[in-house]
């Protein structure tokens, strides 16, 4: 877990998520017998085309996917990373994903391969490759007996296989091996899980199979060191997106100098995400192309220079150790100086202070839209005032774990009502229910509101606990303004509301017609009789750690609301006492997508999730 404050219930999948997109239809119109390469005009036979296909469409789609996703990166990084993985931008991509593999050189244990685990992420072939290869194949290779399938169809079938299946298919016959090789060459995205005790040669051999890799995700269960980084640098010349996630027990041994060299050498690198960066010590990153940078588990950095003028999004998470000697203020000053195009900033550090905020506000980042400064208990209302005066157009503001109070909320509501759509104030001990209510009343565009652990007893506050606090805690002290609180929220746009851990909440009235997700985990004192949910589009209610009566009350409210609505048909009573019932909409005007319309009429069931 990266973040100290727990997840807001389920981030929504990004709009750009595409899943499996079919092979581009361009090849369909191609006539047979075109023996020249579409790109450079040379005869195709035995020809390897070096002219680059423009994949700018893919890249911009990725950029939009990142920006829609980054609005939820305040939520746990792993969930947003996986959401980003699901965003398949365009037809030009092709993804292979490895989840399980053992050492290629030594003997492979049979338990090491688990083909059933892997999801099929093939998204479509790179356009030119498919063109060249398929025409070539259709002309030359129609021999069915030895290969079982004609070549073009073989391509389609093998393309859908997970990587282990592809490796197996390469052993079936020569023809299949050819097809598998072509698929490897066409691969642009690779997701690998590197098990423990594996030689770097394994990764090297994988990367050599697919030289056209543009996106690389590694889930390291063995240590990640400079040899592996060098291997990646050597094999993947077109790398644009790199993500390294570390599982428990694996160490990231990269130091700052190595990282700096890697970033400087990779001219096309646009996005770099790395976990476990505790050995960096200090770095100088110079890159003209880098636009997204996520580093987590940072600790005691001596020098941080971000010489990346195209940087749009930065996420720096510092480990929560007390003896962190990083000078955040200088770092932020440097950031502001060199990366003037920043749009999304996320910094999670215990030592965030008012001085750091002032450095940020002095930086004049004109494009700043999402600001997240979490865990800094020294951030006060004065900091909020500074932020509000310098950046009045924020769309996301996350000050979880800070010391702001209701007057800070007042400042926020004064300045940001026209733009702010996401406000996260979890673990802010000085925020009360009136502040929350004020915020929901004054911010008309609000879609996400996270007030976890705000209205609760200060004794039960434990800033180092992660996830949901289901541990039974005794509420010993009785601060009257923190118990028996009531919340009345009526908001037309609110989609997600999180009140997890608000044990001081006694009554809740929600009238939000667009609310999809409600998190009431550990709302221990919420009285079942004082709960009223009028949210017809509610899909998920999280209620773990709540009393059974409350869960029952939630369920009955949520399900009854739907049945009540089903029986309603618009009717009109005429003056003579008769009643005309309008026949509901039955005929569709067009045939194409009638099933979608039909499903809209059906009510979505709401899940009450109790773990």
């Amino acid at each position: 877990m990266h973040h100290s404050h727990p997840k807001v219930a389920a981030p929504p999948p990004p709009d750009a998520s595409g899943g499996a997109v079919d092979i581009s239809d361009g090849k369909r119109g191609k006539k047979r017998g075109n023996y020249n390469c579409g790109r450079c005009g040379q005869p195709k036979k035995g020809h390897v085309c070096n002219v680059k296909t423009p994949i700018s469409a893919a890249v911009t789609a990725v950029a939009t996917a990142i920006s829609t996703d980054s609005s939820h990166y305040a939520v746990s990084a792993s969930s947003s990373a996986s959401a980003l993985r699901k965003a398949a931008p365009s037809r030009l991509r092709r993804a292979l994903s490895f989840d399980d593999f053992d050492d290629g050189g030594a003997a492979i244990s049979s338990g090491g391969i688990d083909a059933s685990e892997m999801e099929d992420r093939t998204v479509g072939d790179s356009f030119a490759d498919a063109d060249d290869d398929l025409d070539l194949k259709m002309d030359l290779d129609l021999d069915l007996d030895s290969c079982g399938l004609p070549a073009s169809l073989r391509w389609e079938v093998l393309r859908r296989l997970p990587p282990v299946g592809l490796l197996a298919a390469a052993q079936v016959s020569k023809g299949w091996r050819e097809t598998a090789k072509r698929l490897w060459k066409a691969a642009e995205e690779l997701r690998l899980r590197v098990p423990a005790n594996v030689h770097v040669g394994f990764v090297a051999s994988m990367l050599q199979k697919c030289p056209g890799i543009v996106r690389l995700s590694l889930r390291m269960e063995s240590d990640f060191d400079s040899t592996m980084l060098a291997c990646i640098a050597f094999s993947c010349s077109n790398l644009e997106y790199m993500e390294v996630s570390m599982s428990d027990g694996a160490t990231n041994r990269i130091n700052g100098g190595e990282l700096g060299r890697f970033v400087a050498d990779k001219r096309s690198l646009k996005c770099l995400k790395m976990e476990g960066c505790s050995n960096l010590g200090g770095f100088v990153l110079c890159s003209a192309s880098l636009s997204t940078l996520w580093l987590s588990d940072l600790h005691s950095l001596s020098k941080m220079v971000f010489n990346c003028p195209q940087l749009r999004e930065i996420s720096l998470e510092f480990s929560r150790q007390e003896n962190d000697s990083t000078d955040l203020t200088t770092m932020i000053e440097g950031l502001g100086r060199n990366c003037s195009r920043l749009q999304n900033i996320h910094i999670a550090a215990l030592r965030l202070s008012h001085a750091a905020v002032l450095a940020l506000t002095a930086a004049q980042l004109r494009g700043l839209r999402m600001l997240s400064l979490v865990l800094g208990s020294e951030i006060t209302d004065a900091s909020v005032a500074a932020i509000a005066s310098s950046y009045p157009n924020l769309e996301l503001l996350d000050l979880s774990g800070s010391g702001i109070s209701d007057s800070g909320i007042g400042i926020i509501c004064n300045v940001f009502p026209e733009t702010l759509s996401r406000l996260l104030l979890a673990l802010c001990p000085n925020v009360t229910s009136s502040g929350i209510q004020f915020a929901t009343a004054q911010l008309p565009l609000l879609e996400l509101m996270d007030c976890g652990m705000t209205i609760c007893d200060p004794d039960s506050l434990n800033p180092t606990t992660d996830e949901d606090n289901c541990k039974p805690q005794e509420t010993s002290s009785t601060n009257m303004h923190l118990t028996n609180q009531k919340l009345i929220i009526k908001h037309s746009h609110l989609k997600k509301l999180s009140l997890w851990g608000c044990s001081g909440l006694d009554a809740l009235y929600l009238n939000c017609p667009q609310l999809n997700d409600l998190n009431l985990n550990s709302c221990r004192n919420l009285h079942p009789e004082r709960l009223l949910l009028q949210c017809p589009t509610l899909e998920n209610v999280h209620a773990s750690g709540c009393k059974d009566m409350l869960i029952g009350a939630i369920q009955s409210q949520v399900c009854n609301a739907f049945t009540a609505m089903e029986n309603q048909s618009p009717s009109k009573r005429l003056p003579d006492g008769s009643k005309r019932v309008r026949v509901p909409y039955l005929l569709e005007d067009e045939c194409p997508e009638p099933d979608k319309k039909r499903r809209k009429i059906e009510r979505r069931l709401c899940n009450v999730l109790v773990n």
Binding site: I113, D145, S146, P594
Partner: protein
């Protein structure tokens, strides 16, 4: 009037007539509401059958199918009809690479999917699974036919089925399923393959 013009005239009328029909054709019948496809009602009123096309298999057997059904699924047939090269009165579309048995199945698939597109996903998937419950020769023929006629969703379905037949199986079994008698590797190569990936065999 030429047939083509009549067709356009009818389809032009459709929206207005639909609204007219909806007022009195849909009546509660014993508590349940009966839903009719407007095109069927309209054409039933007009007295002419639904436009049909003729498909001719390799065995010279002729199948009559609603044009709507095939046009929705098969890109090839759609193109042919839109080009205007198909004359409804006289021509039939020859499909020399598709035999009668397979053609019948393909038509069955297209018809079911057109008429049942409103069903929920599980029912459709169950039907599809049942539909593909054929031996590998039959599956192969279906694949060739779908490829020729360019029926995208049937192709995807068949590819998915074949992929599942390969996934997780040992190499020898895959060779048996696909009837690959000669794998093309020299004995030394085969030996090396077995050494490199022993668990695949």
């Amino acid at each position: 009037m030429e047939l083509l013009c009549i067709r356009q005239w009818i389809s032009g009328l459709l929206p207005t007539v639909k609204k007219w029909l909806s007022a009195w054709c849909i009546k509660p019948v014993g508590g349940a509401l009966v839903r009719q496809e407007p095109e069927y009602i309209l054409l039933a009123l007009m007295g002419s059958p639904l436009k049909k096309i003729m498909l001719c298999s390799s065995e010279k057997e002729i199948f009559s199918v609603e044009e709507q059904v095939m046009v929705q699924h098969s890109v090839i047939i759609n193109n042919m009809i839109e080009d205007g090269s198909y004359n409804h009165e006289e021509s039939k579309i020859p499909l020399d690479c598709v035999d009668s048995k397979t053609l019948k199945k393909v038509i069955d698939y297209c018809t079911h999917h057109t008429h049942h597109h409103n069903d929920n996903q599980e029912d459709l998937e169950a039907w599809d699974a049942q539909f593909l419950n054929v031996d590998s020769n039959g599956l192969y023929d279906l694949l060739m036919a779908a490829n020729y006629l360019e029926i995208r969703n049937l192709l995807d379905l068949i590819y998915g089925t074949i992929k599942n037949m390969i996934k997780g199986k040992k190499i020898d079994e895959i060779r048996r399923i696909f009837n690959i008698k000669d794998h093309g590797f020299t004995p030394e190569e085969e030996e090396q393959n077995r050494k490199e990936y022993p668990h695949f065999y």
